[in-house]
């Protein structure tokens, strides 16, 4: 067993194990923590594929940022140990499952099927510079990327404005 195979096994086990625990665990907070394991495992898989920038972004954004937001939201809601009811989301679950299967079939039989085996991959090299240069090319998607982030920012500001509790008018202002 080579080092690459060993790390592939460890990270796959982490990703799949975390996903299974997140699915079958009845406590929502515990599911969220299991998802943290999945995020780390996926980041590790990116790393074994030589995508170092993507792996670290995955850890920074998903494992460190979005997880904290999830947990923050879950802890602010009313806690009860067995709050998940899977029957109520049966149709949605079936749809999502069908979509996932379709995606997998497409991945293995579609036009992009036949990904190179790990040992045939080129040696990993730093990707940060290549990603940065690709962004600066004239035909890049930089404008669309920045436009999407401005749109998200506007959405955030709007959400804060709607959610903010307006101060009660004071007595002297009413009179």
């Amino acid at each position: 067993m080579t080092g690459a195979e060993l790390s592939f096994a460890v990270f796959t086990a982490l990703a799949l194990g975390g996903a299974l625990v997140a699915l079958f665990e009845t406590s929502v907070v515990r599911s969220a923590f299991a998802m943290f394991g999945t995020f780390l495992g996926v980041a590790g898989l990116y790393l074994t594929l030589g995508a170092d920038f993507l792996a670290m972004t995955q850890v920074l954004i998903y494992a460190g940022g979005i997880m904290v937001l999830y947990l923050f939201g879950l802890m602010l809601t009313k806690p009860s140990p067995h709050e998940r009811n899977l029957r109520r989301i049966g149709l949605a679950a079936a749809l999502a499952g069908a979509l996932a299967i379709l995606l997998l079939v497409q991945l293995f039989t579609g036009e992009h099927a036949g990904m190179p085996a790990p040992e045939n991959l080129p040696a990993p090299e730093p990707t940060a510079e290549a990603i940065g240069l690709a962004f600066l090319r004239a035909d890049s998607w930089l404008f669309a990327f920045e436009f999407a982030s401005v749109l998200l920012l506007a959405t955030l500001v709007g959400a804060v404005y709607i959610a903010r509790r307006r101060p009660e008018p004071r007595a002297e202002e009413l009179s």
């Binding site: 067993m1 080579t2 080092g3 060993l6 406590s27 907070v29 515990r30 923590f33 943290f36 780390l40 170092d52 920038f53 670290m56 972004t57 850890v59 920074l60 494992a63 460190g64 940022g65 997880m67 904290v68 937001l69 947990l71 923050f72 802890m75 602010l76 730093p126 940060a128």
Partner: protein, 345 residues
Amino acid sequence: MYELLLSTAIALAVVLAFITVAAMFFVYAERKVAGWIQHRVGPNRTGGFAGWAQSIADSIKLLLKEDLILRGADRRLFQLAPAVVMASAFALFVVLPFGPGLIVADVDLGVFLILAIASVTTIGVIMAGWGSYNKWSVYGAMREAAQVASYEIPLGLSLMPPILYFGTFSLKAATEAQTGSFGMGWYLFSDAFWIAIPSFLLFFVAALAENKRAPFDLPEAESELVAGFHTEYSGIRFSFFFLEEYAAMFVFSAVGAALWLGGWNFPGIHLLEPGSTLLLVLATASFVLKAFFLVFIMMWVRWTVPRLRIDQVMTLGYKYLTPLSMAMALIAAGWEYVKHLGAQA
């Protein structure tokens, strides 16, 4: 394969030994510094001279203490949390350039890796707070989540000026770029010193908040939350949180030293033969001393400045540090562009 595993194991053992010894030293130093600042003596009995063995005695006591888990606690999360916190603190050391050739893994994205892994520590703290089955712990965890999520932005952006200046994320490459002609080509003394000084101050404040050091130690504010997220921990599990705090202090001080204070470079490094043992020893000592000095300043701040309120912490983070660090990154990028234009003309 086995050689790889063996060399990794040796490197990790060295890092572990360094973290443990440095943390023991920092605990002793913190108590002494606190004593001096408050006109006390500090620990002065254990071991005879100036109480030097106090930390060793404390560690033995912590190892022998009973490991308590509350009956209502979420056992698995409670047990996993110190491991997550400790493992992330441990992983941070991997990319620190202690000296020429003295680095566990020269990752191309070193600074980025440190930011990413430091954010994982937060998950461990939240896990500890939630698993403890104690409302003070949950309050501490919530504060940690809110505080760290907001200070990650100024921390990351305050690192942009040196990254732009050196054009690399690697701490080793940044250190090598600061040798200069006399070993003094530090970023703080470069042509961009007027950006370097304010960005260093920003970085330092954001690092204090990210490490939940006073005056930002809201997650464990003892006057309000008993001990915050680690209220229910005892013995060795408690000591993991303790170890993590001091390890993270050292790591962020070391990043500051590597990016702004020239890393292992010191005046006169050009006189020594490259690759000689003397150079290696002096360079490593210079790096560690710089980092220790910044840790000392962190302690100094802790015993001087009163703790902020949680709303003040959030205001400082979002309304002052975030816009300031954004402006700093923009100005630094503009300055690099101006220099680029000047070089072309």
